[in-house]
């Protein structure tokens, strides 16, 4: 185990939206919403995630990979060729932006694990997770920053409008969007450090700092996750993957495990609820996210917003027609939805769970 990692810390603003009717929404909205909160970041990181953007390749895992230098590309492609059917490879379209002088090589691959590589009882998803862990921890200078189906993350070092322009975010259309502007307090200048953090179709944007990071990381390592990104948000992504995908918890149950009610409240509950909450907390104590946070996590079927147990970071939600918005500030929602039907501030630890209609 490597104990000598340096943890990266940052403050930020976040925003997200979902159309439950799967209406395609252009990227311009999310960019506008995020840019309103420019002062929550410091221009050293921004990013976007969108769902429904690759309908033509929706059965393929879309790997977005950044290469610090082109030479490692060959190593990674060799690995992909040996393990995946590679349907399509292309550089992620980018547009020159004055403020962004240096960027890694950004390539996307639409892939499907080779059947013969799925030996034993390994599930396809687990195979993909293992590949992501392997490349991110073992191939210096290569980093898979997006690996879900029909979704993708776009992120880098820059302010929200520059990163949006760079990736031509306005050219994408999706039914779920999340976005993040970052205020890192040390400046690694590493593109991988920006949010969203993704794994499979989980994407996380996060405001705050996870003070329990150290134990969350060690807990995840016990289950084979390799934490390579030097930032606390990564643990949230992997915890959701572990609790929901691997352990089969529902989203509300997983939210209860990650931001558990206080014992005082649990003790007051009626027997069945108390037993469930007690068991969740006893079992997932090391997964408890402690410290200030508000988080949006997107996934293939919906969008969830949650904040910490004592509400140390802001989160506002609003609804208009089939769209639910969630953001650090109400004004970020009003920027793109001036007259919502309902606006509310979710209570501490109470998740806002929105699912796509079938």
């Amino acid at each position: 185990m490597d104990h000598n990692y340096q943890k990266d810390i940052s403050g930020c603003g976040l925003t997200g939206l979902i159309s439950t009717k799967k209406r395609m929404i252009g990227g311009a909205d999310i960019v506008k919403s995020l840019c309103l909160m420019n002062d929550r970041g410091n221009g050293l990181g921004a990013g976007y995630a969108a769902y429904g953007i690759y309908p033509k390749f929706k059965d393929f895992y879309a790997f977005h990979i950044m290469f610090d230098e082109p030479s490692v590309r060959r190593t990674v492609e060799e690995y992909l060729k040996n393990n995946y059917k590679v349907e399509k490879v292309e550089e992620i379209p980018t547009f020159p932006v004055k403020a962004i002088s240096i960027s890694p090589l950004l390539v996307r691959y639409f892939v499907q694990p080779l059947k013969e590589r799925l030996v034993g009882e390994i599930a396809e998803d687990d195979f993909v997770v293992n590949s992501v862990m392997k490349i991110n921890s073992e191939v210096e200078g290569a980093y898979i920053f997006s690996s879900g189906k029909n979704m993708g993350a776009f992120k880098g070092v820059g302010n929200p409008s520059d990163i949006a322009e760079f990736f031509r975010i306005e050219d994408y259309s999706g039914y779920i969007w999340t976005a993040h502007t970052r205020f890192p307090t040390n400046t690694p200048g590493w593109w991988g450090g920006a949010h969203p953090f993704t794994l499979l179709d989980w994407s996380i944007v996060h405001n705050g700092e996870i003070s329990s990071y150290g134990i969350n990381k060690r807990y995840l390592e016990m289950y084979g996750y390799k934490l390579t990104l030097l930032t606390d948000t990564e643990v949230v992504t992997y915890l959701l993957d572990l609790l929901i995908r691997k352990h089969g918890l529902s989203i509300p149950a997983a939210a209860m495990a990650l931001a558990s009610p206080f014992w005082k409240k649990i003790d007051e509950m009626e027997k069945d609820d108390r037993e469930v909450l007690t068991a969740l907390r006893q079992t997932y104590g090391s997964a408890l996210l402690n410290g200030p946070f508000s988080i949006l996590f997107g996934h293939g079927k919906g969008l969830v917003g949650i904040n910490d147990r004592i509400k140390l970071r802001p989160l506002v939600a609003a609804v208009k027609d089939d769209i639910t918005y969630m953001a650090s500030e109400e004004s970020a929602i009003r920027a793109i939805c001036p007259a919502p039907e309902k606006v509310w501030a979710p209570r501490a630890g109470q998740p806002v769970i929105v699912e796509l209609e079938d």
């Binding site: 705050g208 134990i215 014992w263 469930v276 147990r309």
Partner: protein, 502 residues
């Protein structure tokens, strides 16, 4: 008689002008230092252990106990204890005994670890006004929770959780047997454990019926001497502990001297009065790990599956041993470090065998995680926890709870004089002499021990608050919030801790 060539360690002195000849010092000293010479107090200073009972009870503050200035020549290599032990051995041919944990100046890792605090990027939390949770559950946890829909559509547990022991603070009392300590001292522990929602541990001397009212806060112990072990005993507490070893004397058994075996102790242990109570070095039904498994499950069968704890001394290969214990079915692994206390141990063993608890916690926690079985058992760490800071560091290294004994005894008057094995404890703690044990009023001293646990609880909450976390789960194993000062790279690596400044 030949006068010992080992000079006394302490000089008991009386200011004759202040002394009013009230003889309280004579009454209070359990060691026979003072006697009445007809017109004044006579002092036999060679018997003095500096327990300070006389000083405390002298109404005129006439007594002063000083370190004997007539010592052997200072020598950086031949320490006082070396020379003194050789002289005693030359006189007796015996093994010098000692009590308490080792007092030799080995590096204390706790003192080379510092705890983090929040500034700006994450807020500290106010522990006095806002919730701060220290509650801990000891016992085996499943790796995941399975839920199913109940009739009302709400989620229900699919399987029952394995049995859990709830403690309100992750600080419990280490095992100390009736025999090694007095019944009153055990009552203090039991009373305070109940008051604080934590646990005391019978040690291996059986369970006196006076402790039955406290059974919900008691772990009963089964050790190599099998004193007082019967089905009722096994089922009396909330868990059963198998004692393999003790930090102060790894690998060896124990002799509770006959002086400490009066009728009550003898009755509870089911042995003759006044003989030495023998605890064999090994448990003779455990010569290998599969034998341990057999005993664990024999106890589980006999108790309808109460949690079983296995206590071992922290020795070189502690990680592999602990892993074996967990795989053998233990619900709790109790690690007792090098600095752990004892009522009686050969000083050569106490001072030279085993490893400090800090390494043991780190190694065991790491190993159980590497093997993916950390959830299978809770880790209790003991052996020299002196303060809530030590406790916090032990938790951050990976322990679920700490256990304290010496600190608890200090609240009862103990000054760590280290003469527990004589049975003369003037504070009534490690003695069975009725005139001495009567001094330890369980109610009064329980309040003092409760105060200590409350004070440490407050301090732990302050530490958590400074760390910006409001549940002890987030401290447990969170080595990211520790930094080493003046530790070498390899030690840091073993502890899984970064150096300060990184």
């Amino acid at each position: 008689m030949f006068k010992s060539l080992a000079p006394p360690e302490y000089l008991a002195t009386i200011d004759r002008e202040k002394c009013i000849r009230c003889k309280r010092c004579i009454q209070n000293c359990g060691w026979g230092v003072y006697s009445w010479g007809g017109d004044k107090i006579v002092i036999n200073t060679s018997k003095c252990v500096k327990c300070l009972r006389c000083y405390h009870y002298c109404p005129e503050e006439a007594i002063e106990i000083v370190d004997n200035p007539t010592k052997f020549k200072n020598n950086a290599y031949w320490g006082f204890h070396n020379i003194r032990n050789i002289k005693r051995q030359a006189e007796t041919g015996g093994i010098p005994l000692t009590g308490m944990g080792s007092d030799l100046p080995y590096t204390i890792l706790f003192d080379n670890l510092l705890i983090d605090a929040c500034q700006v990027t994450n807020p500290s939390i106010d522990p006095l006004r806002e919730p701060m949770e220290l509650r801990t559950y000891l016992g085996k946890k499943p790796s995941s929770v399975e839920l199913e829909k109940g009739k009302d559509g709400k989620p229900r547990l699919k399987d029952r959780m394995p049995p859990q022991i709830k403690i309100e603070v992750p600080i419990i009392f280490s095992p100390m047997s009736f025999g090694s300590i007095s019944l009153n001292a055990q009552k203090v522990l039991a009373h305070a454990a109940r008051e604080c929602g934590i646990l005391m541990n019978t040690g291996e001397g059986g369970l006196h019926e006076d402790l039955l009212p406290y059974k919900d806060n008691i772990i009963v112990q089964v050790a190599s001497g099998r004193f007082g072990v019967n089905p009722e005993y096994l089922n009396a507490g909330v868990a059963v502990e198998i004692k393999i070893g003790q930090g102060a004397k790894p690998g060896i058994g124990g002799h509770l001297p006959g002086e400490k075996i009066p009728l009550e102790v003898a009755r509870t242990r089911m042995i003759p009065v006044g003989t030495d109570a023998l605890s064999p070095a090994p448990q003779h039904d455990i010569y290998s790990i599969e034998d341990l498994r057999q005993l664990i499950y024999a106890i589980k069968e006999a108790t309808n599956y109460k949690p079983v704890s296995v206590k071992i001394a922290a020795v070189h290969n502690v990680a592999a041993i602990a892993s074996g214990i967990v795989r053998a079915g233990a619900d709790i692994v109790y690690l007792d470090g090098f600095r752990g206390g004892t009522g009686a141990a050969p000083s050569i063993i106490r001072d030279h065998l085993g490893i400090p608890i800090e390494y043991a916690i780190a190694a065991v926690d790491d190993r159980l995680r590497q093997e993916g079985i950390r959830n299978e058992a809770s880790i209790i760490a003991a052996g020299g926890i002196r303060s809530s800071a030590d406790a916090a560091k032990a938790l951050a290294l990976g322990a679920d709870s700490v256990a304290i004994a010496t600190a608890a005894l200090i609240t009862m008057g103990c000054t760590t004089c280290g003469k527990c094995y004589t049975g003369n404890c003037s504070w009534g703690i490690t003695t069975q002499r009725p005139e001495l044990t009567a001094r330890l009023d369980p109610e009064i001293y329980a309040d003092r021990l409760v105060n200590l646990i409350h004070a440490w609880t407050h301090e732990l909450k302050e530490i958590l608050g400074a760390l910006g976390i409001n549940a002890v789960e987030s401290l447990r194993g969170n080595r990211e919030r520790l930094r080493g000062v003046g530790l070498d790279t390899q030690t840091l690596d073993i502890l899984g801790v970064k150096p300060a400044g990184r």
